[in-house]
C-alpha cells in the first residue's frame, strides 16, 4: 500500500521543468549559461588552452577558416582556445567577486536590518555614498595606485572588484530583512523561544533564498562589468586572455581599422551572451521571489 504514495503526484523534477516552461526568462537564461559553461569548460578540456590561448602559439592574423575556426590574433593566439579560456577566466573573476560580495553583503545586511542601531546608520550612510559615486572611477583609482600594473592576475582582478561588490547586496538584504522581521511568522518564532541567530538562519534565510540568489547573480554581473571596465582601460591582467583583455588588445592594435574583425567580434559576442544570460536569470529569479510580477505580465 505504502509503495504507491510517491507515484501519485508529479515528481519534483517534473515540477521544476513545468515551472521553467512558465518562467521563460529563467529557462532561456539558464540555457544560454549552460551553453557558455559547456563551451568554456569543454573547450578548456578539449584543446590545449594553456599554450594555444597565449602569444606565439599559432600563425598570427589568420581569418576564420578550416584550420582555425575562429581565426588567430596578431600575437599568435588561437582565438578558439582564447574564447574557451576567456569565458572560464572572466567567469572565475565574476564568481569569486560575486561570492565575496554576497557573503559580506548578506552578513552586513542582516546586522544592519535585524539588529539596527548605530550599525544600521553607518551601513546605510556608507552604502548610499558608495552607490552614488561611480564605481568605475573608484576602482580605477584603487587599481591604478595600489596594484602594480604589470603584476595583475585574475585573482587580483577578482579581489579588486570584490572591494565594491558587497555594496548593492548589503542594501538589498537590509531592505528585505526590514520588511520581513515584523511578519507574523517571525513573531511566532520569537514567542516560541527561538534565539536571534536561529530566527535568522531558520526563518529569514530560507524565505529570502530567491532574493539572495538574484542579488548574487547581480553581484556577479556587476563584478564582470567592473573588471571588464578596468581591463578595457588597461588595468587588467596583461598576461591572461580574459574576454576583456582580448578586447583590450584588439582595440589597442586597431583590429577593426585593419580589418581583423574576428579578433573583436568573438569576445564581444561572448560578453554579450554572458550579460544577457545573467540578466535573464535575474529577471526569472525576480519572478520566483515576487509571484505578483508573474500575474502582471
Amino acid at each position: 500500500m505504502a509503495v504507491a504514495a510517491p507515484a501519485i503526484g508529479p515528481t519534483r523534477s517534473t515540477l521544476v521543468l513545468r515551472y521553467l516552461r512558465r518562467n521563460k526568462s529563467l529557462s532561456v537564461g539558464l540555457v544560454m549559461l549552460a551553453f557558455l559553461l559547456i563551451f568554456g569548460i569543454g573547450g578548456t578540456l578539449l584543446f590545449d588552452t594553456a599554450t594555444r590561448a597565449y602569444p606565439l602559439a599559432v600563425t598570427p592574423l589568420q581569418p576564420p577558416g578550416p584550420q582555425y575556426p575562429l581565426g588567430t590574433d596578431k600575437d599568435g593566439r588561437d582565438l578558439l582556445a582564447v574564447m574557451a579560456r576567456g569565458i572560464v577566466l572572466t567567469g572565475t573573476i565574476g564568481l569569486i567577486a560575486g561570492t565575496i560580495g554576497i557573503v559580506v553583503g548578506t552578513t552586513l545586511g542582516f546586522l544592519a536590518g535585524y539588529f539596527g542601531g548605530i550599525f544600521d546608520l553607518v551601513a546605510r550612510w556608507v552604502t548610499e555614498v558608495l552607490l552614488t559615486i561611480p564605481s568605475l572611477i573608484l576602482l580605477v583609482i584603487i587599481a591604478g595606485t595600489i596594484v602594480n600594473k604589470n603584476q595583475v592576475t585574475v585573482l587580483t582582478m577578482a579581489f579588486v572588484t570584490a572591494l565594491l561588490a558587497w555594496v548593492a547586496p548589503t542594501r538589498i538584504v537590509r531592505a528585505q530583512v526590514l520588511t520581513m522581521k515584523e511578519r507574523t511568522f517571525v513573531n511566532v518564532a520569537r514567542l516560541s523561544g527561538m534565539g536571534n541567530f536561529e530566527i535568522i538562519f531558520k526563518e529569514l534565510m530560507p524565505n529570502m533564498l530567491p532574493f539572495l540568489a538574484a542579488a548574487f547573480v547581480a553581484a556577479v554581473m556587476g563584478a564582470i562589468g567592473a573588471s571588464f571596465g578596468l581591463e578595457v582601460l588597461g588595468l587588467g591582467p596583461a598576461r591572461e586572455p580574459t574576454l576583456g583583455m582580448t578586447i583590450r588588445w584588439s582595440t589597442f592594435h586597431s583590429a577593426m581599422f585593419n580589418g581583423w574583425w574576428w579578433w573583436v567580434l568573438w569576445p564581444v559576442l561572448a560578453l554579450i551572451l554572458i550579460f544577457a544570460s545573467l540578466s535573464l536569470i535575474n529577471v526569472g529569479l525576480d519572478e520566483v521571489a515576487n509571484p505578483r510580477v508573474r500575474r502582471s505580465e
Binding site: V129, I133, P134, V140, G229, V232, L233, V268, I272, S279
Partner: protein
Amino acid sequence: MKLGYLVRRIVFLFFVIWTAATVLFFIPRMSRVNPIRERFNELARGTGYSPKDLEQIIASYELKFGLNKPLGEQYLDYLSSVLRGDLGVSLMRYPRTVAELIGQALPWTVALLGFTTVLTFLLGTLLGALAGWPKSPSWVKSTVTPLMVLAAIPAYTLGLLLIYFIAFRARLLPMAGAYTTGLFKAPEFSIPFILDLAKHAILPAFSLILASLGFWALGMRGMGVTVQGEDYVNFAEHKGLKQKRIFYAYYVRNAILPQVTSLALAFGAIVSAGILVENLYGFPGIGSLLNAAILANDYFVIYGIGFITIFAVGVSMLVVDLLYPLLDPRIRYDRKS
C-alpha cells in the same frame, strides 16, 4: 523652503567633497608606487639617465611638490589647493595643469553625454509609461524585457557591435574620432564642421542610448504600475475624463517623480558615464584623457578626474534635494505643514 534646510544640504555637499578629497589624498600615500619615480623610470628606460642623477631629479621634484614635508602639513596644503580649484600639475603634459587638461576635455563629454542623457530619459520614460499603461498594445508591453537585457550589457560591447556592422561592414559612418582631422585642423564654428561632428557622434551616442534605455523604461514602468492602481486614477476614469488626459495629467505626472530624481543623478554621473565609450570611439573627452593618464602613469590627472566626478555627483545630489519639494507638493521640508 527653509533656509536651515538649504544650509544643511550645502554643509553635506562640503562634507562629501571633503571626504572625497581626503580619500584621494590618502590612497596614493598608502601605496608603494611613487608617481614621480615611476614617470622618471619610464623616461630613463627610453633615454638612459644614470641612476644617481635620477635620484637627484626625483629629490628635487619632491621638494618642488612639497612631498618631503610632514604628512599633516601636506594634507592641509592639499586641502587648501583643492578649495582653490588647483588639482596639481600633469606629469604627462608637464607643465600644463590638471585643471587645464580636464577643462579641455570636459566640454566634449558634457555635450555628448548631456545629449544622450536627455534623449534617453525622454524616450525611456515614455516607453516605460506606455508599457505600464493597461490599454497599450501588447507589443509595447513586451519591449521591456529585451530593453532590460540590453541595459545589462556594457555600452562598450554594444558600441563594438555597432562599429562592426555600421562602420566596418556597411561603411555608413566613421569608426572613431570626433571630427575628420584631415578636413579640420581644430574645432571651428561652421556648418560643415558641425555636420561632420554630428556624423562622428551618432555611433557613440547610439551605443550609450541603447545601453541605458532599459533603465529609464523599467523605472517608469515600475512606478506606473503602482500609480495605476491608485484611487485618483480610478476616480478620473469614472468621471469619464479623456484617456489622453488621464494618461498625462494623472498617471505620468504622478509616476514621473522618481524619474526626475534619477535624471538629476544621471547628470551628476555625466563626467564618468561615458568613459569607456569615449575611449572606444577615440572621442576627446574625459574618458580618453583618463585612458591616456593611465597609460602614462599620470596619477595627478587620474585623481583630478576622480575628484571632478565626485564633485559633480555631490552637486547633483544637492540639486535633487532642492528640486524635489518643487516637483512634488506633498513633500515639504519645513515640518510645519
